[in-house]
Subunit: 384 residues, 2 copies
């Protein structure tokens, strides 16, 4: 770790890093990756890059040099065993199990509230369990700048890490950067002028050309005290409920209080509950990240990300699959050991699991969500 | 049966039908239908039309009113149990098991030689086990005309049943009809002017327009004596070997002689060994068949033939499959109970079996043969 972070003095760095706790929200089924990703085995429990690690384990390993084992994971009750298997280092008190999904406001807000009770000076950094990032060193350098920025000034800052866009994506929200901030150890930190919703292609092209916009990847680093201050101001009901659970968390009443209060919490995204009002109040900064980032939103992404086998023009993910092609191109994701023969078919996406098969095209890979809804409607929920 | 065959007098009909024995060559893996059809479960052992019968059983049932149980089946040793299961009526002495494939000359020639030893007056009718025909009554009316024609004159005729072409196919050989023959009970019988090989599309269109050509479906009815006469003249080595086996067939030496002689026989199609030279000698006639005929040459054929379920624009064959579509068209043949979701993909052909999956298009369905060759070359023979 000694040579990885040259900025700021070593003493400053150590002091600020001691306050840092990584929070990993591991929610979402990853419906667009069905049938590989499904309720019983969501995206974060898969190795979608052929790296040998599941996405959640890779996320943990990426944060470990910064957090030094200080970690909170928020996930669904159904994934308790799988998450503990992936991160055996995780203490039970640091695993928040949602009895039902309540969106990111409740998940990240509860993490902030629990961490505040333990140490009000905590700086949390929230990073989704199912994104793919490389190289890790560039990521950590950006997070370190974000930590310094979060710790700066009297009340600190909520610091988002914005991704330098590589194409005019219409699938992400954008962050418009404002004036440069003068933070020791964070030379690239800027104020956030505004968050903007997913744009049209025309607007996205303008954003890209302007050089002022970054992708909003949902990553942020912030003093838990500042998070809770905005949460209380904007979502008093949610704040009250989270406070009640957090007060009981490190006591014998944890399970009883959580079981009672969690189902009553309002569903709201952390963006609306905290980030956007905080930005309007001038409390949000951004650190640009020059690392490669992918939220693996569909199977086309898997094709892009994979260093897996290439059989002619077909990317093959899955160790057991025996794939034969003739005049074919596309992606095969296999969870079986079957022989798969592709003949004269282009840009195809095939996902082969023991109980469900998806055949689509790269162009239509985003529509998988609709098929899952149709399956649910028909009662074929055994494969969802 | 009494009203089905109005032609010829009842006495003539009975006399000639008493000489008729059906021969069913059940060879060929049906490679173009892989992975549904494969070495261990070739095409003729599948119900490819959703009728509830395998193709070989349907062939047997179609011929039964004419052959009245007089039957010879020629198949590979590997299919002994399956064929006996499909046709429990079959006597062991009427099941010819090939220790290795030797093409149709040896298979049909041996049937002729065995039947000749039993009764030199026999008229054989050879019909592949893996074709789809309807309606059966129209088929039998044509076969009955062919039997009368085969029995006509001094030496009889080799009578092929030609299919009235419905489109300018380049996948079949053609038969050019000659002058009408004057055969009692066979008003539509004509001489065969010539057999022609699979034509180009341009030539096929001319054939169709001329009205003189029929498809060669490889069906024929002939006195075994005339078959053997031409076989001896054109393929003396093959004839000698088949005679040696036939002499031993209904004796205790059957297995020993067959095992010794069969592997030494030359490989040649019955077309070259008998039909074409016999046509040149003026010994071949043709009866047109107005029935629907399909050799189920590829998966596109299965789509055509099937009265199976339609899910939107997708034809689904296989009772267990749960198919969901969104903007998709094509054919799904399923041997499993998996959920299959097709999204935004057109004219696709999907064949889903427990150990192998084929994804191709209707346009490329004919190329499956090449994929099977590639699998064989790679050593993945477990799924062939």
């Amino acid at each position: 770790m000694s040579t990885e972070f040259p900025a700021a003095s070593a003493a400053d760095r150590d002091a600020v890093l001691d306050r840092f706790v990584a929070v990993i929200p591991a929610g979402g089924v990853g419906t667009r990756l069905w049938p590989l990703s499904r309720a019983a085995a969501p995206k974060f429990l898969h190795d979608l890059t052929g790296s040998g690690s599941t996405l959640i384990r890779a996320t943990y390993d990426r944060l470990r040099p910064l957090a030094n084992g200080r970690l909170l994971v928020v996930t669904g009750q159904a994934h308790r065993a799988a998450v503990c298997h992936q991160i055996p280092e995780l203490d039970t008190a640091d695993l928040v199990l949602e009895s039902e999904p309540k969106d990111s406001g409740a998940a990240i807000g509860l993490a902030a509230a629990i961490l505040y009770r333990r140490d009000p000076a905590t700086i949390m950094g929230s990073f989704a369990a199912d994104h793919v990032i490389s190289p890790d060193t560039v990521f950590r350098a950006a997070v370190l700048e974000a930590i310094h920025t979060a710790a700066s000034g009297e009340r600190g800052k909520i610091v988002t890490i914005g991704i330098e866009p590589t194409h005019p994506s219409t699938g992400f929200g954008y962050i418009r950067g404002g004036e440069a901030l003068d933070v020791a150890g964070a030379p690239s930190a800027r104020a956030v002028a505004e968050f903007v919703e997913k744009p049209s292609l025309e607007v996205a092209e303008k954003y890209l050309a302007s050089g002022e916009y970054l992708w909003n990847a949902g990553m942020f680093v912030a003093p838990v005290s500042l998070m809770l201050e905005h949460l209380e101001a904007n979502q008093p009901e949610l704040y009250a409920g989270l406070t009640e659970i957090a007060d009981a968390w490190d006591t014998p009443a944890r399970d009883e209080v959580t079981a009672r209060v969690w189902p009553t919490l309002p569903k709201i995204a952390i963006d609306y509950a905290v980030a956007e009002p905080a930005a309007a109040a001038g409390d949000v900064a951004v650190v640009p990240g020059a690392f490669r980032w992918d939220d693996v939103g569909d199977f086309a992404a898997i094709g892009r990300l994979n260093s897996a086998r290439e059989v002619d023009a077909v990317t093959v993910l899955g160790e057991g699959a025996r794939v034969f092609t003739e005049g074919a191109s596309g992606i095969v994701v296999s969870d079986t050991k079957r022989v798969i023969a592709l003949i004269g078919i282009q840009d195809v996406v095939i996902v082969d699991t023991p109980d469900a098969l998806l055949v689509t095209t790269k162009e239509h890979a985003q529509k998988v969500k609709g098929a899952v809804a149709a399956l649910k409607a028909s009662g074929d929920t055994d494969v969802l």
